[in-house]
Point group: C2
Chain length 478, copies 2
């Protein structure tokens, strides 16, 4: 993907790219009308196609003459949503569709973009070529991360050995994390292994204090407990800094300065439009988006980047967090900082189906990282929504529906083996595999996975948490 | 003042006190109607008078039956002010009256409260009794500090040897400080000497960055330059901590936690009402009031107070800063903290008269701390608004008006000798003293005062600034 783009196109905004495509189209038409030599016309057409590809890579949209690029539309601006519309913002994910949120509709494109769907394959090819070393974890190119912003810049940076870093996070709303919470962290871990760059993980305990009925102390305690589960994913202590906002804000020479810079360049009108805040919201909520924005700038971590500004950031996150980073990308050039690049993941469905809201207070809505093998078995057998038929006869005849079957969805996230997943899909769709049998595969996948996580988490002592959360230099020179 | 209050009244809110007065009034009426014994009625009346005094001390208002207490009305809520009304908020001080802002009207009382006017005398008496040592700087009881909140609690704490601390601040909008800026600091220094308590001084460089067209670096530089002028007032390095927000927020384990606590308990509606913010204001301005509120709580300074919460705070400040602390006092009980006590000072008038806006960008609007003796002489002779008559003959006949004469006002602030000030007032009012002669007295007062300040400022090295601004234990045990 990176190779197919002209170097000077990288710095263009979607609108500038749109104008370049339009100009080039006019040039081609003029050449054809003027009966120019064939090789001249061919060259101009090749340039036009290349520009259109850049446009699509940057915006996720096909170029349409006369239709300037739209930005992702993820705004909860207080208007009533239509019955069949998905609602997605950092605090709500609602859909009435058993297949889950319609991501194509969400990002405003009408046809699935193969370019985006295959993003992880591209990452893998780029980095494999460079490193002669296959670190593939094949399941990462199953469309779980389905959309991006400026990922081409990151791949270019990687190829040109320019530094960048990864930033992701979690809101520690409770001690109870479920298996879905692991997805962005496992993907981030894979990205870190592939790219070998520093990683910062923000625990927004201040956000949880502001939004929930919770003390500052409790929010900080949850942050430390959640850090244990994150560390248990296997992050490299020499390359990873985990921080609680409540803690790090009071120990960093750079973090608050970036927060206040963002806060100067965002109005209440803007956060009202983006996040749906009202006049009755507390001023803490209203200014919080700047706190989630600031880690996108390397000067928030002088201890890691040796005080260097302008080191670009790549943020893997669930799509509901995009509003924060749309805002960040809007502010970045105005405070002299590079825009962070983004990789968006889909949501993890509740056991009861994609249209059901997952809730930490409902133990049956997902598999939790603290569940016993028996609990996992019972939950999957009793609660996992099935895409199978009502009777064995009907199932054998018509086959099951993988698009709405939660057991199959979970396997998409957690089964390592691509071929096995494809076999299961075919067997289930053809009716050869029954729901109970599919559930058994999921149970046998999740039980050892969760048990292994619990085993690794046990090894994470308070001392290890303290080390991960201590502001320090990482194993990189800047 | 402190002695005249019953101990259990201290914890009552104005409304609770109002109800106690009303109840007691009804009791007195019932006793009289029931022809109770004279000593019983007398005791009830004494109690009633004592309650009314407490009510007045707490609210600054006389008790009026059926009229519950109003809070100070300093709100710029976006409504148009009437022609003859004073406008006072943290960013504007406007009056059309040459005598300056009508403070009695401002705090909502109709008669000057002698109790408040003589506050500094009370402080002096209380502390003299306790310390057998006269640290009087007589000019502090000239009504410059004219109003208070909960000062009786502070005097009680002092008498009972309970700890408390002082907090004041400055917004470093430029390098240029004028003599008026010294007033709260000189008074604070006097309070610190009298009470012998820790003092924290906040430099709101983040506020100036948010409000002005200024970089973060420039705002911080101004903070450090202003710190030199503040230190030159003679503060004790062992008892005083000066901090820049941009700096201290990133080094304190307690400051941000208190900020976020305040931010959770104040809505946009509230700051809109108090400070006149609009939807077009940046989210930094909207959340800033919490940053000025947080130093009112001792847990913002764990290094000074050994991590102790609930140590009461006394804030000497100009009256325009009161909205911040009304908000703070409203939030305090809801986050389990004591309300800070307050002492309000009047504004320092511009040379051109009290109805003119003083401006750091207009060098003639005041005497600056960098002025030469010659500049001081010229400014006072050319620009100080005179309350004298048009001709010498008229002046001798009718006398001058001290109420509007800026030279006399400045002498009220800076002349040490009470008797001399009174003689000057009589001589000027009677016509014996001419404007030029009064100006000469002011010139001879200000020239050595400013020169001495410049001399002391020269002694303030970067190293001394660094020491004052380093978070550390002070010379007090907690």
């Amino acid at each position: 993907m990176a190779d197919s783009l002209n170097c000077d196109l990288k710095s263009l905004s979607p609108l500038q790219l749109f104008e370049r495509v339009t100009e080039q189209g006019e040039k081609v038409r003029a050449l054809k009308a003027g009966k120019a030599p064939k090789d001249e016309i061919d060259a101009a057409v090749r340039m036009l196609l290349s520009l259109k590809l850049s446009y699509k890579t940057t915006t996720g949209q096909d170029y349409q003459a006369g239709l300037p690029p739209k930005d992702l539309v993820l705004i909860n601006n207080g208007t009533t949503k239509e019955e069949d519309e998905d609602l997605v913002d950092p605090w709500n994910v609602q859909t009435s569709n058993a297949k889950g949120v319609d991501y194509d509709k969400l990002i405003g494109i009408t046809l699935p973009s193969l370019l985006l769907r295959n993003l992880c394959k591209v990452i893998l090819m780029t980095t494999e070529t460079a490193r002669h070393h296959n670190k593939s974890r094949s399941k990462h190119h199953r469309g779980i991360f389905f959309s991006h912003r400026d990922m081409d810049q990151i791949l270019d940076a990687y190829e040109n050995k320019k530094p960048f870093y990864l930033y992701t996070g979690r809101g520690p709303s409770s001690q109870a994390m479920h298996v879905g919470h692991l997805i962005p962290f496992l993907f981030t871990k894979w990205l870190q292994e592939v790219f070998d760059v520093p990683l910062v993980i923000q625990l927004t305990d201040d956000e949880k204090y502001l939004w929930k009925d919770m003390t500052v102390e409790k929010a900080y305690e949850y942050a430390r407990e959640n850090a244990k589960d994150i560390i248990a994913c296997g992050f490299d202590i020499n390359k990873t800094f985990i921080f609680s906002d409540l803690d790090y804000l009071g120990t960093s020479a750079g973090f608050y300065k970036n927060i206040v810079k963002v806060q100067k360049h965002v109005t209440f009108n803007q956060v009202k439009g983006i996040f749906g805040f009202t006049d009755s919201d507390c001023i803490g909520k209203i200014s919080f988006p700047a706190i989630q924005a600031a880690p996108s700038f390397s000067s928030s971590f002088p201890q890691i980047f040796n005080g260097k500004e302008n080191i670009q950031c790549l943020i893997p996150c669930a799509i509901d967090q995009d509003p924060y980073f749309r805002m960040t990308r809007d502010v970045a050039p105005r405070i002299g900082q590079p825009k962070p690049a983004l990789l968006h993941s889909v949501f993890f469905p509740a056991l009861q189906g994609a249209q059901t809201k997952m809730s930490a207070s409902d133990p049956n809505s997902s598999i939790f990282l603290t569940d016993t093998p028996k609990q996992i078995k019972t939950k999957i057998n009793k609660h996992a929504f099935s895409g199978g038929r009502d009777t064995i006869e009907e199932h054998r005849k018509y086959g099951g529906n993988c698009d709405v079957d939660v057991s199959f969805m979970y396997l998409t996230f957690f089964l390592e083996d691509d071929d096995r997943l494809e076999q299961l899909k075919q067997a289930y769709t053809s009716g050869e595999l029954l729901t109970g049998e599919l559930k058994k595969v999921l149970i046998e996948t999740m039980q050892p996975l969760v048990a292994a996580h619990q085993e690794r988490r046990k090894q994470v002592t308070d001392e290890i948490v303290k080390q991960f959360m201590t502001p320090r230099k990482l194993a990189f020179e800047f």
